[in-house]
Each structure stands twice: as C-alpha cells, then as structure tokens.
C-alpha cells in the first residue's frame, strides 16, 4: 500500500541510491548512475510506486552551513523572519533551510532573548536537477530534500547516545567530530553539545584507499583548522572523534589521528548500531548511506530544503489524504452511531414485545376474575362517580329555611322592624348585586365592623339580602339607626351567620354623601319611611369537599 510505503533517495555527485521502505523495514534498494540510462531506469523505478511519498537526501560537497542568532519569535513572525534572513543569506540558492538549535543560548534576564539557528544550503544543485526532473515528470510526491549531514546529527543525538552504542561517551561531551566513510567520500560532521554546526564532504580519490590513515589524518587536520578559523574551537579544545565501522579496520587511522592530531578517537560499532535500528549491517558495507536513509525512513525527518514548488504535489496529496481520513472518520462515527441506535431500537422492541406479553397475561387474568362480576353498563369507578355527584348536588338542594329561621329569631327581639323583602341566593360569587326595586342602593360606610370572613370559592354559601323599614317611623333617625344596628348585631350573634353587612341605613350620616330633609319631619303627619338593607351570609352547611 502506497500509504505505508516510502521511497528514500540519496543523491550524490555520481549516482543515486533509491530504497523502498514499508512498515519501517527496508524492502529493496537500487543504485542509479547519474547518466541518461540511469535516469530512464529511475523513471521506470518510480512508475512501480505511484502515489508514494519520496524523501530525497543530498550528499554533496557543495554544502553551506552558517550559524545565526535571531530575536526570539514564534508562529508566522518566526516564519517570515527566517524566510527574509534566508533570502538575504542565500540570494541565489533555492535549496535552503534554517535548523533551530534547542537550548543553545541561555538568556540573561536583562537581555533580549535570542534563538540560534544553523542555516543550511546547497550551493550547487546540478547533481540533483536531473533526478528532480524525473520526479516532476512522473508527478511523484516529493516530500522534501534533506541534508545527509542532518541524519549524521541524528546518529549521534538519538541513536548512539540513546541506544548506548558508545557507552563511555557522556552526553555532556561538547566537541564531537563524526567521521563517516561514504561512497561519496569522507564526511566529517562537527557537533557541539550534540548539535550540528558544520559538515564537510571530502571526495576520496582511488589512490587514497591505500593510504586511508594518512587521508583521514589530513582531512581531520583540515577540519580542525576550519573549526579554529570559524571560532568553534581553539587549538587547545579537546575534540572527540567517532568513527562508525563495521569491523575494526580503522585501528590504524584512530592511532594516527590520536598521535598526530591529539584527538581522542573512538570506534562506533556500526553493526550493533544497524541491528539496534533494524537494518541489516552487511547492506551498509557497500552502501553506507543506507543507514542515513533508514533513519529518515523510520521517522527522523530533518528540515526540508526544497522550495515549496517542488513539494506542492505532496502537500496537495496530504490535504487530500486528510479529507479522505475525515470522510472515513465521519463514516466510521456514523456507522458506530447507527449501530448503537439499531442496538437500542432492537432492545426496546424486545422490551415492548415482553411488555405486550405481560399485558396480555394480566388482561387474561383479569378476564378470568371479571367473569364473576355483575353485569354493569359501565366501569365501576363511573358508577361510584355518578352516585357521588348525586349526593353532592342533593347537599345543595335546600330551601331557604335556615335563612328564614335566623331572620325570625332576630326579628322576635326587634319588634319595631318590619321585613319587606328577602332575596335569598346560593352562590359563591360575593360581588353579586341585588337588583331590588324597593330601595335605591346608596353605598354606606357605616358601622360595619371589620370582618375576617374569607370565602371559599369551591362552596356555595347562602346569601340573603334583607329589605326592611322601621315600623311607625316618626322621624327619629337616631333611634332608627340604633334599631337597624341592633338587628345587625343580633344577626351577627347567631351561630349560623358568617357575615352581616349593612348595605343601607335609614339615614346616611356620612360626610361623603348628601343628606336632605325637613326640621318638621318629626311633627309632620306624612313622614318618609326609614328603610334599610342588610346582607347576611350564612356559614356553609355542606362540608367542604
């Protein structure tokens, strides 16, 4: 599957090594010469792996490294700053990158915080152009172009130290030169505190094979002088040189460098290193760059030097993959939700079926029991309800006997009062108006004592409006008032009475109403009647339901 397959290429001056990795294992590799047939063969090779991500390692002499201190920034500002600085530094170089060095600069409290970067670039890319043209022609998915030296840093930083390949090397060993014998030549990479500072590739002429120790010593001297000239070290700085070797053939080289250059040398067991990262050591004998390619393939992807134009197909492919992944995720979540709902619906249906069976069972049991019931036109509760309604209504089916009795008892004592009219109601509306024609209703504020009566709206009360007058009235309003008040007092004293209100007195003496008459009233033969009106409310006889 292309999704889990990677192609890692390593281009040097004369050839290109292409390896195919899947599931973090090297499956195959092939070397292509830097000529037309080689490129044609490479094109055919790529056709076998469509839609596969391609990582290109550059291993060239024409590499440039510069250390830069920049103000601390982040996000888009950092990106813009680096782009501008790279453009200034490498005006004519498209293949360039800025590698951030972690914890390189310790910030002082009162000073600006700076970040340190190594700027990397390929000054000449003719050795890459041909291969890139093939990749572009195939519309293959180039993820990036990377410096091989960045993987050399990984070897020291992550592989050797972490896996304990060099057991006596401490993490704090500050100055290390990693000398690697590659097919392209001798690559010496200087690392300070584990961070790449510079790397240089020295092409190894065939005649140097017989004088390897001398060649190594010569190149090491050049490297040391360069480091001193660049100020990375001074002549007294203790250096450590690491030499990855499959066998112990570099003993002479180590001895000579130690003697001539005074540099402590140590061999890295390349076979052990290869085994620890699961690549066959014997493959490294003929193609040492496979180690770097393998590191890249298993996830140690360094900073990309390629311009955006070259990696655009890969980025579009990544977006496409992201969209497809989102689609798959949506489908997965949708199907999971669907499964959950279907399961719930099935469970509910099963419960419903069981409930239906239970209902049927209870209905059957009830039918068995109900066979002995007397035949009834309706359900038992309705029978009881009808009887209760009848009872309730009968409770209100009363004559005005109580009201008459209450009034009679009061009138037995107040013989000077004559009753003209009684309007009796059963109601729970207490704002009802009496519409008698005998007396014009005049609101009165007279001597009605404050009442604590709070009517219950769910009960019908017996209410009586009583119209009466003073018998043989001779114009003595004071006495007439006393008589009516006495009558009201007697009514209030009755245990059956809830409330009594004088609606109209024989005379209204309130300052808020008009009063008229004649001083001859008492002497006059034709005297006006002293009429009054009361409202009496009896206590409910029916218990509150």
């Amino acid at each position: 599957m292309a999704l889990f397959t990677k192609i890692v290429l390593c281009a040097s001056g004369n050839y290109l090594t292409a390896g195919v990795w899947s599931w973090r294992k090297l499956r195959a590799f092939q070397v292509f010469d830097h000529d037309a047939p080689g490129k044609a063969e490479f094109a055919r090779f790529l056709q076998q792996f469509p839609d596969t991500n391609i990582y290109l390692l550059a291993d060239a002499v024409e590499e440039d490294y510069r250390l830069e201190n920049l103000p601390h920034t982040s996000g888009a500002a950092r990106h813009a700053l680096l782009e501008r600085k790279l453009s200034q530094t490498y005006r004519n170089t498209a293949f360039r990158a800025a590698h951030f060095i972690k914890h390189e600069i310790k910030r002082e409290k009162d000073k600006r915080k700076d970040d340190r970067y190594v700027f990397l670039a390929l000054n000449k890319v003719e050795f890459l152009s041909g291969w890139l043209a093939v990749i572009e022609a195939q519309q293959a998915l180039l993820t990036g172009v990377y410096m091989l030296s960045m993987l050399s840093q990984v070897i020291v930083q992550k592989v050797i130290v972490r896996n304990g390949i060099v057991r006596n090397m401490r993490l704090i060993e500050p100055h290390i030169i990693l000398s690697e014998r590659l097919n392209s030549g001798l690559r010496q990479t200087y690392l300070h505190n584990g961070n790449l500072k510079i790397s240089r590739l020295a092409a190894m002429p065939p005649e140097a094979e017989n004088q390897r120790a001398y060649f190594y010593e010569l190149e090491t001297e050049k490297t040391s002088l360069y480091l001193i000239s660049q100020g990375f070290i001074n002549p007294e700085t203790p250096l450590k040189m690491l030499l990855p070797e499959l066998d112990d053939s570099s003993k002479d080289i180590r001895r000579q460098i130690q003697q001539e250059q005074g540099i402590d040398c140590e061999r890295i067991d390349l076979a052990e290193l290869a085994s620890s990262i699961r690549i066959q050591p014997q493959l490294l004998k003929a193609n040492p760059e496979l180690l770097h390619m393998h590191l890249l393939a298993i996830g140690h992807v360094p900073d990309n030097l390629a311009p955006a134009r070259l990696v655009r197909p890969h980025q579009v492919q990544r977006i496409s993959l992201g969209i497809n992944f989102a689609s798959a995720l949506i489908v997965f979540i949708g199907l999971m939700l669907t499964a959950v709902y279907v399961k719930q619906a099935a469970d509910l249906s099963a419960e419903t079926r069981q409930a239906a069976l239970d209902t049927e069972l209870y209905n059957q049991r009830y039918a068995d029991v109900a066979r002995d019931f007397p035949a009834t036109p309706m359900v038992s509760n309705d029978l009881a309800t009808a009887v209760e309604i009848n009872k309730t209504i009968k409770q209100y089916g009363k004559a005005p006997r109580r009201m008459m009795q209450v009034i009679s008892h009061a009138l037995d004592v107040t013989l000077e009062i004559q009753l003209d009219r009684l309007h009796w109601l059963q109601t729970n509306e207490f704002d009802v108006q009496d519409d008698d024609k005998i007396l014009d209703y005049v609101p009165s504020d007279k001597s009605n004592p404050p009442s604590s009566f709070v009517p219950d709206p769910s009960v019908l009360y017996e209410v009586g409006f009583i119209n009466g007058q003073i018998k043989m009235f001779n114009g003595d309003y004071r006495r007439a008032l006393e008589s009516v008040n006495h009558l009201a007092t007697l009514l209030r004293a009755d245990s059956l009475v809830e409330n009594v209100e004088i609606l109209q007195s024989p005379v209204n003496v309130s300052s808020y109403s008009a009063l008229q008459g004649s001083t001859n009233d008492e002497k006059s033969a034709l005297q006006s009647a002293a009429m009054f009106k009361l409202r009496v409310i009896l206590k409910p006889e029916v218990p509150v339901i």
Partner: protein, 203 residues
C-alpha cells in the same frame, strides 16, 4: 499554501466524498435515531398499558366491591331520571300534586331548554357530562312557609335533584287577615341537573 485551480481539481473528488459522507451519515443517523425514538414511544405506550392491566387485575377485588355497592344505586338514579333524559312530565305531576295537597295559590312554572353545565362549586364529574335546565317558579303565598313546603316536598319526592339557586320573596304592602288573599310573592330559579353517561369504549 495557496491552492491553485489545478490543486482544487485534485481535491475535487475527496471534497465531494467528504460532503457525501457527511450528508449520508447525517441522514442515516437521523433515520435510525427516529426508528429508535419510535421504538421508545411504542415501549412507553405498551408499558403504560401494562401498568393499567396490572393495576386493573390487582384492584379487581375492589372493582367487584364497587360494582356490587354502587350498581343498584346507579340503576335507581336512572329510574329517577337523574341519569339520562329529564322526566319533565313526572316533575310537573309532582308539582301539581304538591299544589293540590297543600292548597297553595297558583304556581307558574317555566323550564328552559337543557344546556351544558359547569358547576361553580367543587364537583368531580369524572367522565360524565352535566346538563342543566333552568326552572323558574312564580307563586303567590299566604305565608313564607308555603315556599318551604313546596321546595321541601319537591325534594322529598326523591325525584331528580335540583339546586334552588335564587329566591326573592316580596311582601305585599297591604296586610289583610284573609286566607284567600296572598300576602307575598315568591320568584325562584332552580337548576335541574342531570347526567349523561360517558360513551363506553367499544370492545
């Protein structure tokens, strides 16, 4: 990275796929969820029926007791005319009988057409429909006791129940001690209340 039209061309099918996946999964989930909700509603209904069936069975003893106790009373209410159609002729006969037996002055009556009734007092009517006919009585009286006799004897007939709602008694201004001339006039309104049986569910 700004996408070019060529890039969009490459992303066209994945984008369409994403849209389709979103729409189809939304539709599918909505549909299945509605099926689940329907199943839940069906279960709720069935559970309610089960509770009713269980309760009905558990209270069957009480039900039998209620039927035995109330069925004769209910049948009596039907015979009395409280349930079903009003027995207006019987009521008028009662009124005439009371009038004759007590030698009352003339009683004028009117019965309005029946209407639905909403009582203003507390009454649990259950599933029954309450009906009311407003009756008006107008009678001259020698004495206020005549009204009590009339009303109380109407109740005593054990006919359909009524509520005497409003009664106005006016004394004539002249007072003559003659038993053949009325001294007062009464005007009363009664609510004649009957029940209509609820419609029984078809078996």
């Amino acid at each position: 990275m700004k996408l070019t039209s060529q890039d969009w061309q490459k992303l066209r099918y994945p984008a369409v796929g994403l849209g389709l996946a979103l729409i189809l999964m939304t539709l599918l989930c909505t549909y299945v969820e509605s099926i689940r909700d329907q199943a839940q509603q069906t279960l709720d209904r069935q559970s309610s029926q089960l509770r009713q069936a269980r309760q009905k069975f558990q209270t069957s003893g009480q039900e039998k007791y209620t039927i035995v106790k109330y069925l004769p009373l209910y049948e009596q209410l039907i015979r009395d005319g409280f349930i079903g159609e009003e027995q207006r002729i019987a009521w008028i006969d009662h009124l005439r009988t009371i009038h004759d037996q007590n030698k009352l002055f003339k009683i004028n009556y009117s019965i309005a057409s029946q209407e639905d009734y909403q009582p203003t007092f507390a009454l649990n009517a259950g599933t029954f429909k309450l009906k009311r006919s407003v009756m008006k009585l107008d009678l001259a009286m020698l004495h206020e006791g005549d009204l009590l006799v009339l009303i109380e004897q109407l109740h005593a007939m054990e006919a359909t129940p009524f509520i005497l709602r409003d009664c106005e008694i006016i004394r004539f201004s002249r007072t003559i001690s003659n038993s053949y001339i009325p001294n007062m006039q009464a005007q009363c309104e009664l609510d004649w209340i009957t029940l209509r049986e609820p419609e029984q569910p078809h078996a």
